[in-house]
Symmetry: C2
Subunit: 212 residues, 2 copies
């Protein structure tokens, strides 16, 4: 491969590509860094996720026992109607003993992509389908004790379903259609306990729509 | 008490007060509604919280086994410097194997109020103290599987500490001071996995500051 101890153009090119890739990986080192798994201490399985306590070593060398929820991930939609209203749900959550304002969202099923999951959930939970989808990024709701990632989407060009899609039996949901200003006021009012994934998705949706 | 079958002014007043109270409770019925606890199935204790699986009956009558994290709650600060920059942390989170952008926050200790907790955390994590505090409401990060509530505050009139306050040994934190526009751009860039409590708190801080 090496002629007269020198590299040819193609070899230079290949090495440059590899170097750039290596630099990219090094730059990302600060963002993605695995802890070292030592041993599983205990585990409980719930319906859609499990809870594990593991002995792990953190990147800074500290070792300890940490408990967290292992979750398959979820997808969420901010649905905007043709006349620029926002569809949002009033939904019961047993863990906080409250009805919260939440965008349609759901846990990924095995082998399901986020976009296919949310196309199903928006029908089951809100009774709408959407023809125009845009990605709004990914959030982590509780990085202190859950590995869950929620994929955010903007759903537009909506059509109301003229049939009912059955969701989970234990879901207790009311569908609201709000002016964007009304949603902003509900968030600032102090009357609502804020659902963090919903406010984060709304922030991203507003950023996206403001740039159009 | 009743003269000639009629109520006097004071009695009318008392009944009116009770009626208003009753109406307030009825209006809130839709927001706060307890599930009925049936029995504890299993439990695991972690360092700062526990995980329980309980058999419960939901307000809509559906009964099932549900697992969730019982958490003491937390407090968070959006720190704004005197020259209107935002202080934010780059912090390692083992559960998601990443460094995230997060506002200073911490779990409430036993008997600690949210405001006292965050006054301690902002010193330990960011190395600043604040003289001006405003409430920005409360969020729930993961109402599907945690009862945690996070109390949000705006922290202004900051002073840099000239000594180091030791936080938890397992915390791995870098302090960043950003222009607000830079933070908005980081959130919209797609390069960051978004921390939902941080974006929600930033949304609320911007709402609050825009109204000044």
């Amino acid at each position: 491969m090496i002629q007269n101890g020198l590299l040819n153009d193609l070899q230079y090119q290949k090495i440059t590509v590899k170097l750039i890739l290596y630099l990219k990986i090094m730059c990302n080192k600060n963002l993605i860094k695995r802890s070292i798994f030592k041993e599983k201490i205990s585990e409980l399985k719930s319906k859609k996720f499990s809870f594990e306590i593991n002995r792990i070593e953190l990147p800074n060398g500290h070792e300890g026992e940490y408990g967290y929820i292992k979750h398959p991930g979820a997808a969420l939609a901010v649905p905007i109607t043709k006349d620029n209203k926002v569809i949002i749900l009033r939904q019961y959550r047993f863990a906080v003993s409250r009805y919260l304002l939440e965008f349609p969202a759901g846990t990924l099923e095995i082998g399901e992509t986020p976009i296919n999951s949310i196309k199903r959930e928006i029908q089951e939970e809100a009774g709408f389908s959407a023809n125009k989808w845009d990605e709004l990024g990914t959030l982590v709701p509780a990085p202190g004790y859950a590995d869950e990632e929620i994929y955010l989407f903007l759903a537009r060009d909506l059509s109301k379903l003229n049939y009912e899609v059955r969701g989970d039996l234990d879901e207790d949901i009311e569908v609201l259609i709000l002016d964007p200003d009304k949603l902003d006021n509900l968030i600032s009012s102090g009357d609502e306990i804020l659902d963090a994934k919903t406010v984060t998705a709304w922030f991203r949706a507003k950023q996206f729509l403001d740039k159009l």
